[in-house]
Each structure stands twice: as C-alpha cells, then as structure tokens.
Amino acid sequence: MLSILNYLVLFSLAIILQLTVVPLLAIKGVVPDVILILVISTSFRHGKMAGMLWGFAAGVVFDFFSTRFVGASSLGYVVSAFVAGIWSAEHSQVRFGVVIGQLFLTVLLHDIIYLNIIRIGTSVGFWNTLFTVVFPHSLYSLVFVAIFSQAFPRKFLGRDQYNYNYN
C-alpha cells in the first residue's frame, strides 16, 4: 500500500515536472521524458504488470493535461514498460553496456510509437522523423536514464550496482 502511495507521488511529481520544468532542459527542441524514465524504472523493479499499469495511468493523465492526443503517451509507455519488464527478469550479473542497450531500445521503442503518432497528418516523413526527432529524443532521455541507473542502481533498476560486470 505504501509502495502504491509512493509511486502515486512519484508519478504525480514526474507529470508535473514534465509539464513545467523539464521543457526548460530542451536542447534544440528535444525534451527528455522523465515519465518514461520512471515507467522503465518501475518495470525493471516490479515487472511488466506494474510498469504497464503505471505507464498507462501516467500517460493518460499527462496527455490529458498536455492537451495532446489522449492515448498516445499511454500507448508508448505501455509498450516500453512491457519490453523493459522482459529484461527485469534478468537479475543475474549483466554487463553495464547491455543494460544501457536495453534501456536505449526501450526508450527508442517508446519514441518511435509516440512521435510517429504525433507526426501523422504532417508533411514530415517517417525516416525524417526517425533521424531528426526520434534518435535525438531517445539519446537525450538515455542520458538521464544512464545517470539515474548509475546513481541509484537499486532504486532505479532494482538490482545492486555490484552486480554489473564491466568486463
């Protein structure tokens, strides 16, 4: 119960930050996605189910307040949470690069879904969106994901930092 309240607070905070402060960190219009970071973290720590449910709820609320298409963010978060949840089962020692790769793929998947929904109806093509929007956005979010996962491995990924095998 306490965990649910914690996540409720965390996600509320993430949504507020994403709507207010995070856009200030934009580099050439590319804004990191802290809600996504939290969704991935939840999936890594508690599995697919928790990640998907929290991602769905957070996505709907965020879309509602950001006046975007309600359902677009939640769709991206749900799919990312599911994929991240697959890797959460790997509690054995893994190389740091593998974790970063997993995180990047998860973020990339979300961005491909979300940003292409946003793109529909515009004159911007798929590949153009991929290289000019999706990749920069994913890389920028990955920087935050990498910092958090390194700084708070147990909190973020649900695994001990010492389990990493850097070789």
């Binding site: 599995g47 697919k48 189910m49 998907m52 449910l53 991602g55 769905f56 996505g59 709907v60 879309d63 298409f69 309600v70 359902g71 677009a72 939640s74 769709l75 749900v78 799919v79 599911f82 949840g85 929904i117 946003i118 793109r119 529909i120 109806g121 515009t122």
Partner: protein, 266 residues
Amino acid sequence: MGRLNEWFIHRKDFITLLLTVVTSLVLLFSSSTDQVRTLRNWSLGGFGYLLNKLSVLYRYEDVYEENSWLRRQNANLMLDVSRLQESALENQRLRALLDFKNESQFDLVPAKVIGRGENSLVNAITLTAGQADSITRNMAVVTAQGLVGKVYSVSPNISTVQLLLDRNFRVGATVRRSRVMGVVKWTSGNDVVLSEIPKRSDIAIGDTVITSGISTIFPGGLEIGKVVEISDDDRSLFMNVKLETAVDFSKLEEVLVVRKRPLQTN
C-alpha cells in the same frame, strides 16, 4: 474454472498489455484532431481491406455454389449456342429449299431425312413423309441443288428413297448446252456416268447434265451434275462421260418430293 484462472494468471501480463493498448487506442481514436482523423482513416482503410480479404472465406460456400451454377449455366448456354448454330444452318437450307419450291413449277412436298443406309437391295434414305402427304411410289426426290432419287416404298408417314447412287438407278438425261441425250447411272462410290453417248457428241467438261423429261417418273430440267471427265474407248462405240453429282449425298438433311399431280395454274 481452476484451469481458466490458471490460464489468466499465466497470461496476465499479455492480457494487461492487450487491455491497456486497446484502451489507449480507444482513447486515441476518441480524440478529434486532424492527426487522429487521419490515423483513424488509415486504420479503417486497413481494417476494411483486411475484412474484404477475409470475407472471401465467409463467402466461400456462396462462391462454390455460384461456381456450380455458372458451370451448369455455361453448359446449357453452350448447348443453346450449338442448337442456334444448327438452327441457323437448317434455316439456310430450308430457305434454299423454300426458294426452290416457290420458284419451281412442280408441286413439292418437304420432308426430313431421318435415316440412311445401303442394304443388299437398295442404296436408300428414309423420309418423314408418306401416304398421308400424298406420296406415292416412283415420285422424284430433289433438293435445291438437283436430283436425289425416287420414292422406292411408301408407308403412311414414312417413305424410302432410292438414291441416284444406287446400282439399279437409271435416269434419262440431257446435256443442257448441246441437248445431247444419254442415260445416267451409278458406277462406284460417288461416281455416276452419262452413258450411251455416241462418239464425237458435243460434250465438254463443265457441261451441266439435267433430266431429259422423257420419263414417266422424272420431270425434265432437274439438275443431275456436271461433266468432270470425258474419255474414249477404242473398243466401244460410246464415250465415257463421268459426272460430279449436283447433290452432296453425304449432307442430305431435307429434301423435296415431286408430286406427280400437275400444278394448277390460273
């Protein structure tokens, strides 16, 4: 029930994914922005295409039945076409006969050929006309092309015709151009000859040979055939004149019987 619960528990992640994705899409499609309208159109187009393809499966039974019906219909139509072609040919033949009948000075009775064959006695055909049509023995039988033969035997509705190609058939004939007279008789196969023509008679290849009219059976002027070969035999007093019959006996289907009764003229 226990198994069902177990099934759901084992697949709870996938079920959750499915439900949340579907709900997200429903929410997305509930919006009314231009992008969503475009996305909705795309998905509806794709869904429609898929449904159209799948509908073939639902319609398979109907297609099968329709195919069977079309096959039957096709067979019937082919038979109809065949019948119509046959009718067209018959129409042509009957028109020719009718024209001949109308232009002819003879009293003619049309009859259909229903049988043919050579027995030991006579090379003959069978007609659908008999005593009921006032047909009697020894009446001449013709087509628009020329002489066919004569009535050999008669029953109430059927009559038998001895053909020109019968070994015992004889008919007095004359060459239309030079009026040279002789007797036409069968020799072998489809060959008939104009016999008893004295040497040095005026006959040439291509001359038309007609009935002479010096007969109680055959009226004069009926075409018998054309001269195709003339030869001389030193040991004989007569020429050998070979004819090609005017009538194609292998294609006889309708004929006209020349009644002896003289045509009434006003």
